[in-house]
Symmetry: D2
Subunit: 338 residues, 4 copies
């Protein structure tokens, strides 16, 4: 698997929550771009529509990206921060809002083509519901599907990666988990519609990320993009990879490799109170090391999966995570076996 690391540009900006309206300073876009380029191993960025990239600054951004040696990996249309989509975008009960959301996304698709960016990451976070008996699940899912299908048909050269998340900002979001998002992708009838896994969203959804990767593969190779971060499994804490989960990332990286994932490994964090570049850089280095671990142990991991023996898997995990002596012994053992 190619090691292509990216970051969502806004991760380097200010942070806030519903209580505190800004834990940090708000840097300029070009300043954030320079900070992104300075993070070791970062060669791509994702730009949020309206915030980072608009018709009026697209030329300037293209130059800046080129100067910094960065690729625009995806554009993420802002369907979540603009209050006009506060009660939904593609599935809004108001036809005018749905139209606006689609037209706005088309503008972003045009810019993506212009920048040579191959992927639109769609996170319709406001599309969902808060209260029971307050939404027509059938009709609204239909609208969501129609909107995505229209976009995918209009831009067959672009990939549309649907990012799922069970909750926040709504108490329930329509694109909630891998499998329901795959059902919608299939319903569009277009092969350029796929899925983005955000590891943190998958944890909150109760999923095993590796199993979600397999589901996407089985549904016709629909895993288009990866967002990385960590959390305690009940909230999208957007933390540094590896600070809560360890084994889960090793398994995730292994199955990405095994399923032939060829997309970007992009960091999507929200470093409320930490140094942003430092936090993102840490995530990348964790992943680098998990990738190295997989490369060095690919056949052994495959054998463990085949063996289905938790005791053997535990012994292996200890050997690579903790026990240098055991690791060396194991390595010698496998040399002798070979």
């Amino acid at each position: 698997m190619e090691r292509k690391f990216a970051v969502i540009l806004g991760n380097l900006g200010n942070t806030r929550d519903r209580f505190c309206n800004g834990y940090k300073e708000s840097p300029e876009t070009l300043d954030m771009l320079r900070r992104a380029a300075a993070i070791p191993d970062v060669t791509g960025v994702e730009l949020v529509g309206s915030w980072d990239i608009r018709a009026d600054n697209a030329g300037q951004m293209r130059s800046a990206l080129s100067d910094l040696g960065l690729q625009c990996v995806s554009i993420i249309p802002d369907l979540f921060a603009d209050p006009c989509y506060g009660k939904g975008s593609y599935s809004s009960a108001e036809a005018a809002v749905r139209r606006r959301a689609i037209d706005y996304t088309r503008t972003m698709c045009d810019i993506a083509r212009d920048l040579g960016c191959p992927l639109i990451n769609l996170w319709p976070g406001q599309d969902g519901y808060d209260y029971l008996l307050c939404a027509d699940y059938d009709r609204e899912r239909g609208w969501m599907c129609e909107a995505v299908a229209e976009l995918a048909e209009a831009y067959p050269d672009l990939k549309f990666a649907l990012e799922y998340k069970p909750k926040e900002p709504r108490t329930h979001c329509y694109l909630a988990r891998m499998a329901d998002t795959l059902l919608l992708a299939q319903e569009t009838g277009r092969m350029n519609v796929g899925v983005t896994i955000d590891t943190g969203h998958a944890f909150v959804a109760g999923e095993t990320v590796a199993e979600a990767i397999v589901l996407a593969k089985r549904a016709g190779g629909r895993l288009f993009h990866m967002h990385f971060n960590d959390n305690y499994t009940t909230t999208d804490d957007d933390m540094i990879v590896g600070t809560v989960h360890t084994v889960a990332y090793l398994e995730t990286v292994y199955w990405l490799d095994r399923c032939g994932y060829d997309g970007w490994l992009s960091m999507d964090q929200y470093p409320y109170r930490e140094d942003a570049a430092g936090a993102i850089g840490e995530s990348i280095q964790w992943l680098q090391q998990f990738l190295t671990l997989v490369e060095h142990n690919r056949s052994e991991i495959a054998a463990l999966i085949e063996k289905q023996d938790p005791v053997a898997t535990s012994r292996f995990l200890r050997s690579v995570l903790l026990d240098r002596g055991l690791a060396e012994h194991r390595m010698q053992g496998s040399l002798q076996t070979a």
Copy 2:
């Protein structure tokens, strides 16, 4: 929607957990059948294979059911209690176990035909995994799919309802949520493969039951069966309907009705320490009353869903759940409006 109430026969038997090997006495099968028939409004039963129904007692059971005026609503092959399936049935790593599970299910299908039972409820609870890096998600899901497809093809006159549940007895079960189960049903390529919603399993999965109903409808009318019980959303507590959730059941019943569900409403509880017949009877009466509520307020609920105003929905809920004065006022208001 027709009010057809059933119960899983074993609900009336002994209960145990991993600590206590029996909170109650273990009654005879025929005794449980009599108890089931005595619960008000029960006209159907679900029989667990091996426990309640086998080749050797099928004739006797047919007579007993007939005498008691009960229909056999479904057969649930025992793929979960027999230790031979302790590490999986249709997706076991051992080919012989997979074969045995399929052949055993075929025996149950034959008995179902014999009893005039139209539906096989498949809950492969042992098919899943406990530890990370101990399962081949891809291969095992494939085996599961093949097994179900073979059965559905061999018995085109029967419906196969896949019951999903995220965990227990494994820490992760393969048929975990509505949408992944629909993906597998679709992958079989057979329209006689659908889904059973167990309301408690859906709660544990983090689903809104009504939304799951809509997903099944959109996937080609694949909601085949309903199991009812309640819980606190983190564990399959199998409690009396309505003792934890209230509004969620009202919404569930409304959408079942709206989506034209024509199957059975079957109780699937595990009354560890309570009187079983009493606990099951209570669930049915809660559902009866939710059904009446929906019948009396169908158009008003539709209007609220269209309106998407939580304050209006709250006012309606209070009126039907708590405030008789408000209810009367509202009823008069709607009369005047009409």
Copy 3:
């Protein structure tokens, strides 16, 4: 139990989250005060320090409250929105920040005295930690305790109600659940230190609210204040009371009454997209009706609690929530018994 309803003033203002910086307009403080006074049954307000109440507007607020017939039920010092407390207030690693937090709270205590407000509601939401191995749980809990003790000693005529919440804005907050908050209250050695239950926080903490009420009573009568709202148990959704949970509120209100709670019933919601006054008013009417239900059934509920029979409790719940016929029958039965 006296029916004294209040609202946190800010509930009537703008709402935002980390994505969207304002779903609504931002009204003036006096405008919010008028809106609060117009909600049926509201006779008290809680004021957030710095936002709603400061030394410079205390006189004006006193007049406005008096004109509108409102009592100031509590002052909530802003220890959570001011970025200076972004990494903690009373338990900040910086001594100067801890001092500032205490001194700021003292200012608020002085204003409370001035307004005749008897209670300071302390929610040190930023006091906690996000990452493992990044906090000295012992030292920081000690600082928290010292700060509260200093305040409680300096203002023996005021009550200090500690509001617990397991997470948000930190991934882990120090005052997380009822029992740990009681331990800290006891450690201060002051009887004017108690606890605020926010029903939504208790749900997220996995608590049964009624049991938390009993814990506070057993710890020397330390339940000082109540905040009401609803959620789906994993996130502090701050929704309308009764739209998710039903039975839990009935039980909560029953045990408040039984334990002799004599404080305010204050609404603490965050109506992101709904009409604020409508949403708050709904919560109050749900509570009014639960209170009426308890008043009419106090002895029957006591008998059910004594009986410990879930089937009987279920029958009662159905009778009061759904079945008017059954309710009448039951009422006649109890009349005949009497």
Copy 4:
């Protein structure tokens, strides 16, 4: 911290759940004892009353333990498997059951004295409630407290360690979390009443284990015993330590050491389908290695906790878990600094 490893004897026996009545064979007690002794580093066992240890076999067990070089670390009276306690033991609504539970425990205390076992591990798992409005939280907590106080007073030479767990076998258990258990321990007025942390129970309770350790220390040194296992945070899966959580154990071991814990490190697993001795042995080796890690990095970890910088903590974690090169570099760096 002394490395004293123990195991609950029953971990080596058969396993079952409410579906499957036995995944394994049921070995003899003496056979389990031999298996326990054969696990590397095990020098202690915990015996469950009635199952493993009774008046009639106490002499035989004493000899067997002596022969195998094992200490009896604790006795765990069976208050959870005997159906007579199915609705509660110390807090049962029936006075005769409460008396029986206390008298039975006294018998176990006598045996403990006889065996030179210094600690009674009390897990009253059936003491709690399933349904709302079916329990008198106040009265039952009072009974629980009285029972424990009576025992602690009668056996001042024994330590009574209360093991908390939020749910299972009841939907809600009275000893649910660290802090409420400390409140009860304090209420007994006896210093020989403390707490057992089961790491898996703490995860399910939403606790940070290290913070729970600190709470127990602050409440007068009441951490008496430790049970180790792992899970996915929503269910007590009783898995091998380190197969889900990694960093959490490192932090736990660090704070045990820092707080001067001098008790046993006992394994409490439920290896449903795995080789029991292998699974338990793995947990011990994970802990051995975490302990070594703490010993080698004690001052660095202390500095990180003081620093409160998640980026620095992440870098350290990577260095000790994954990056041997970085670890060596860091080691040299600290040597040069020193």
